[in-house]
């Protein structure tokens, strides 16, 4: 009987297919298939065939044809399978495991794998999609209980749910294996930090640490800031202190202080030891404050200028502090002794011309607070005066830090 042509093959169908040699003798059944990511990201490179008690490893270029009836070899040189570290084995390493769907921004469990059957001078398989959802569960449960073709017919009424292989990110906690299998977490860096945080929270601790520890430290810092502080602490604690320090360096000082505050003193000392000089002093200062006070909520990064600065000069200053812009809503003005006297909402800068002095643009009054003020009172101030930012002043009137609306929202969400 001639093999019917088909474009797709599922792993559940591939597993168990008989393999025939040149004389059409059955030599065994497919047990697993593997890709070698260092050579090709999606082509099935090896077929592991169980023949009697031992396994054979068959390379993709030793195969003539693949059909639901079986696999026909084109070559007789067969090698026994010995565990190969460079293989990503579908059944062992992919099936039933969790992977990250980068496009759908979630963690999913692999039920089955769909291959595309490529027909050039020989027939080969290439991973097209990873299947999740009811259809693939049905396929797994039914395979072997009835003929493949009947399973295919029955499943067609269930809507498919698959993720393109390009969008799949495998999570591998072991760094050496990650290198050998050419697994990178680069794709995750394109996610919004908040989405990445949600994904990381769903994974097991080892996988969490693997991801946060390997992606770009700036992305890691942003994602980590969105994670629950207790979990933040658990992740940082298990990273190498240098890696943890790189990440904490990139966090806003207030968030860095919150994260380190959850750690045991010994661990946070180790991380602080590894950090760069400038952020470390700010973080250390913030660590002094009680978490439930204005001091514990504030950020030490703010732009303070004098009242006679012109708008043009101010703009120059802002360009220098580009990294602060995202959380800057107001500029603070101080007098000669460093006392903060007024604030200028950033939006006002757009309407004035370059020679205007900042003191002409100030808000009517300056609402401020002290580092020891309670969280509750700070929240009330934000509500009452509709603030975007609230300066925290030391007793001598100098700026200790700034609390922004997002800090208040975090506090309220936690309650």
């Amino acid at each position: 009987m001639t093999a019917e042509t088909f474009e797709l093959l599922y792993f559940t169908e591939l597993a168990g297919l008989p393999v025939f040699d040149l004389k059409h003798r059955r030599i065994g059944h497919v047990r697993d298939a593997a890709i070698v990511p260092l050579i090709h990201p999606s082509r099935v490179d090896r077929f592991l065939v169980g023949a009697g008690a031992s396994w054979l490893s068959i390379r993709y270029d030793q195969i003539a044809s693949i059909s639901l009836k079986g696999i026909q070899l084109s070559n007789e040189r067969l090698y026994p399978y010995h565990s190969d570290e460079y293989m990503l084995r579908i059944k062992r390493d992919l099936l039933d495991q969790q992977i990250i769907d980068v496009n759908g921004r979630k963690v999913v469990r692999v039920n089955d794998v769909t291959f595309e059957v490529r027909r050039d001078e020989r027939e080969s398989l290439s991973i097209l999609e990873v299947d999740v959802g009811v259809r693939s569960i049905f396929r797994r449960l039914m395979q072997g209980a009835m003929p493949s073709r009947m399973v295919r017919r029955l499943q067609s009424s269930i809507p498919p749910n698959s993720i393109r292989w390009d969008f799949c990110n495998i999570v591998e906690a072991d760094p050496q294996r990650r290198l050998r299998l050419n697994i990178s977490h680069d794709k995750l860096e394109t996610l919004h930090p908040a989405d990445l945080a949600d994904i990381v929270e769903e994974l097991s601790p080892a996988d969490r640490e693997a991801i946060i520890g390997t992606i770009d430290s700036e992305v890691a810092a942003e994602a980590l800031s969105e994670i629950d502080p207790k979990m933040q602490a658990a992740i940082l604690e298990n990273l190498e202190p240098e890696v943890a320090a790189d990440i904490v360096d990139e966090m806003a000082p207030d968030q860095a202080a919150d994260a380190l505050g959850e750690l045991e003193d010994e661990t946070s000392a180790e991380i602080l030891e590894e950090m760069e000089i400038e952020p470390v002093s700010e973080v250390k200062e913030l660590l002094e404050y009680d978490e439930d006070t204005a001091g514990g909520m504030m950020n030490t990064e703010a732009i303070v200028l004098t009242g006679d600065t012109t708008l043009a000069e101010a703009m120059q200053q802002l360009r220098k502090h580009e990294d602060l812009l995202e959380n800057t809503h107001v500029l603070f003005l101080s007098d000669a002794s460093g006392r903060v006297t007024a604030q200028v909402p950033l939006a006002r800068l757009f309407l004035a011309d370059g020679s205007t002095q900042l003191k002409e643009l100030t808000s009517e009054r300056l609402i401020s607070t002290k580092p020891g003020e309670t969280q509750k009172r700070v929240t009330e101030l934000f509500d009452k005066y509709n603030l975007l930012a609230l300066p925290v002043l030391e007793d001598d009137g100098s700026l200790a830090g700034v609390i922004t609306a997002d800090d208040v929202i975090s506090v309220l969400r936690k309650k």
Partner: protein, 419 residues
């Protein structure tokens, strides 16, 4: 620069342990309290009322098995950071997971039925018809998890569990024959009697229920307990398990005392409430309040934990923070468990107490299947590293599996021979 740390003094050490203990408090205690749900209360009551002090000897081995199984789950949760159904799926594949999940859904459906039956009979003592009480509680439970703030209510439930103290007081006031109670606590009594074996299986099933294994492990993972805090978490588990059994002991003693002259099968809430007769006219009130709280508490946890376990194992999206469209299967499963159970209970002619007891027998019969997979998992070196099961744990766990299967086989044999 190396950081030098002074070795902590003994006192500091204790303080640290205490602090960590308080931080990990929760999973073990909640599981222990929910363990004494309507199925638990009625099974122990029946055991005492029908067999007196005879079944007391089972409590020690059951407690040991309970500690071992719960400890295994917590350890797996702390070391792997994954739930039990996740692990079963990753290590044993989809078919086995599907089978186990089917068993879990079946066992838990009967448990939820038992909880709603508990609601029905406890409020029935005050003349509230089950046609009113069950739908109301079902709706309350559904909304609490999906729309409400369960975490806050949980503390109220937990606090209300202290009502179980009345059993301890009643057990003492009823002036039981302590000498006999003590003797039977350590003297095993075996009988090849279908009724007796059924009761033994029910006692195992209600104390070491399949759902607890999944719930305990998820709770440990959720709480973020890791290998480092594990020693304290283990203490919490052990204390919780012992607490469960202490309450069980006094329920049996109180019932045995109340029915010492005329052992009887409990068929109604009134009969079960008789254990609290030292409280005179308050007996019904106390019994009803305790049973109601336990039933509603468990009814809140069971359907939700079932839906989570199943969806995690099968890879469906889950979580009450997801919208209905995102996690359809999760919400449907959750809703169906509640609705179907409530409908079963309000069906005319439903025999409440009998069905509650039967549900616990079923739990006991299904337990070995879950336990076997737990033992296989926890002995995987690749998964647990140096935390694999010590031989003594394996021995106790396997013994539990074999004994429960043995009792089930014996029961089947007896039933077939004397229909």
């Amino acid at each position: 620069m190396p950081v030098t740390v002074a070795p902590p003094s003994l006192l500091q050490n204790w303080k640290r342990h205490l602090l960590v203990f308080l931080a990990v408090l929760g999973p073990g205690f909640i599981t222990a309290m929910v363990d004494n749900d309507s199925g638990g209360i009625l099974t122990y009551s029946q055991a005492g009322a029908r067999w007196g002090y005879l079944p007391l000897w089972t409590l020690a081995p059951i407690t040991l098995a309970l500690i071992v199984s719960q400890e295994m789950c917590s350890r797996m949760g702390a070391i792997t950071g994954k739930g039990l159904s996740d692990l079963i799926r990753e290590e044993f594949g989809l078919r086995i997971t599907f089978g186990i999940m089917a068993l879990l859904v079946l066992a838990n459906l009967t448990n939820v039925v038992a909880e709603f039956a508990g609601v029905a009979i406890s409020l029935d003592l005050f003349g509230v018809s089950k046609f009113i009480s069950v739908p109301l509680v079902a709706a309350f439970v559904w909304f609490l998890a999906v729309k409400g703030n369960y975490a806050r209510v949980e503390k109220i439930f937990l606090f209300a569990c202290s009502i179980f103290v009345v059993y301890i007081i009643a057990g003492i006031l009823i002036k039981p024959d302590w000498k006999q109670a003590m003797i039977y606590s350590v003297k095993p009594k075996l009988m090849l009697n279908a009724e007796y074996i059924t009761m033994l299986i029910a006692m195992v099933g209600t104390t070491i229920a399949p759902w607890m294994q999944f719930y305990q492990q998820s709770a440990v993972v959720e709480k973020g307990i890791t290998a480092k805090e594990y020693p304290e978490s283990r203490i919490e588990v052990i204390v919780g398990c012992i607490l469960t059994s202490v309450i069980a002991f006094f329920i049996i003693v109180a019932c045995a005392g109340a029915y010492r002259d005329h052992p009887t099968n409990i068929d109604s809430a009134k009969e079960a409430a008789l254990a609290l007769k030292p409280f005179a006219q308050y007996a019904f009130l106390l019994f009803s309040a305790g049973l109601l709280n336990a039933s509603v508490f468990a009814a809140c946890i069971l359907p939700l934990s079932t839906a989570y376990s199943v969806c995690e194992g099968m890879g469906f999206e889950s979580g009450v923070n997801k919208r209905w469209g995102e996690a359809k299967i999760f919400y449907w499963l959750y809703t169906l468990l509640i609705v179907v159970s409530a409908l079963i209970v309000i069906a005319p002619g439903f025999m409440m107490v009998k069905m509650i007891l039967l549900s616990q027998v079923l739990n006991g019969m299904l337990l070995p299947f879950i336990l076997i997979f737990m033992i296989l998992l926890i002995n995987k070196k690749g998964l647990m590293k140096e935390w694999i099961n010590p031989p003594a744990y394996n021995f106790i766990a396997w013994a539990t599996v074999i004994i429960v299967i043995g009792m089930t086989v014996a029961l089947t044999g007896i039933t077939i021979r004397n229909p």
